[in-house]
Amino acid sequence: MNSLFWYVGVVAPASVLVPIGCALWRYRFIDQALKIILTYLFIAGLTNMAASALAFSNRNNLFLLHFYTAIEFALLSLYFLYLIKNKHFRWIIISVMLVFLFTCVYNAFYIQDIKQFNTYTRSLQAVILPSYGFYYLYKRIGTHHGHALNKAHYWVIIGLIIYFFSSLIQFSFSNFLSANLAKEFRIWLWTLHASIVLVMYMFFAKAYILCKDER
């Protein structure tokens, strides 16, 4: 079981260094949208470090998740804002982002305890962000003509869709599962989540590797 703790607390969060390394290696060739993803990876890495440090010292780290959800949603919305050119859809993204940020703050202070999982906002996020991804893919499928940056965005979006949809049920019922599930099963669940995060990071790494000079 100890090895699972290391996997969930150290190995999986540390895997963020792989896409970050790839992004820095290809930094000259990445566009603004992929730079936002790089910022997201930095913030995810720092948050995970802080969360692991708190968890290893047996302190509640869930308040970090409340902040992290808001920042993650804002950054990924900005990412889609750079990708999607449809004027009306861009307005939808901006409006949803503002409403969601307000909901996060309201949820943290008035609805769900800051020491609990933010299941409402986290699950809403896991529904909204992949929907943006589907919209982008629907509009662009079969029209990319093999440009490296377009291929890179496909990998990023597929990674996001896989991560958020795979984690949707876990995000939604985190509090329920924490209260009702045996510790052993909960650890296995978080191991599964850590593996999905790892897969998403590998998709991001692949996206950065695909970026090259095509001028």
Partner: protein
């Protein structure tokens, strides 16, 4: 824990629904895009095929016109002169006059026979009747070598293989090189041409390269000469790569499998 489970189930249900609809739409979209691309490809093939047929018909028409002109200008004119000579014979002729008349008739008949031979030679090169393919190519190159330096490259094995080709294939290769040489002399302003023959892994590879000004493929898209070359390459089932560069001239590289021609040759030798 006082989460509203109903609300969470609703969110999850929405998420699952979006996922299913999303995947279905993406699948549908990708399928229709593939279908569109296939249709476009099919249309392009059809257009290309039509262009090839058009080029073949145009080529036939041009050839008919040329034969007609040759017959009119050379045979027709020669026969007319002969007729005139015979008409003149109706006047009184002495012995010397009759001898002179016979002599001029013979000269005219020789001219007509010579013209017939030239027209016939132009229609069908003497491949596999009098000359081998290598001899015919050498003769062809020789006929162009007055204005341009032509180098043939290959080893004994390749020359032997060339002479084992079936008549059809030999004629196609001859015509392709003839067309390429015509194009170079007519348009390329080249000073030298290199034609290389090689065999590799059961394939006969021919590389034609001149040092002229090259061809702009966009501008010469409808050129009949290039279409003829392409039609013959298709008939040969050859893989080919025409390349043209302003600095490096025109280059045509093509290769086709030798197996069938060798087996046909061996078979014909066995029967013989």
């Amino acid at each position: 824990m006082n989460d509203n489970i109903l609300l969470l189930v609703l969110i999850v249900s929405c998420g699952v629904l979006i996922m299913l609809v999303g995947f279905f739409l993406l699948f549908h979209r990708s399928q229709s895009r593939i279908a569109e691309q296939q249709q476009r490809l099919q249309e392009e093939k059809l257009i290309h095929h039509r262009q090839l047929i058009k080029a073949a018909i145009a080529s036939q028409d041009a050839e008919r016109k040329r034969i007609g002109q040759d017959l009119h200008d050379e045979i027709g004119a020669a026969l007319a002169v002969l007729k005139l000579t015979i008409d003149q014979c109706q006047a009184n002729l002495g012995v010397d006059g009759f001898q002179h008349f016979l002599q001029s008739c013979k000269i005219k008949i020789d001219d007509i026979v010579s013209s017939c031979r030239n027209i016939s030679h132009n229609l069908s090169p003497e491949i596999l009747t009098i000359n081998t393919l290598t001899e015919s190519i050498e003769e062809l190159c020789h006929s162009f070598s007055i204005t341009i330096k032509i180098t043939l490259e290959g080893n004994d094995e390749v020359w032997t293989l060339l002479d084992t080709l079936t008549e059809d294939k030999a004629i196609h290769i001859y015509r392709i090189l003839e067309e390429a040489l015509h194009n170079t002399v007519k348009h390329a302003e080249a000073s030298s041409i290199n034609i290389g023959f090689a065999t590799e892994a059961g394939l006969l590879q021919i590389v034609y390269q001149d040092n002229g000004k090259g061809i702009n493929h966009v501008c010469t898209k409808s050129g009949h000469g290039l279409k003829h070359i392409e039609s013959r390459l298709l008939i040969l089932n050859a893989t080919y790569a025409p390349l043209s560069d302003i600095d490096h001239g025109y280059r045509l590289s093509f290769s086709f499998p030798l197996e069938s021609s060798l087996s046909e040759y061996k078979q014909s030798n066995t029967i013989a």
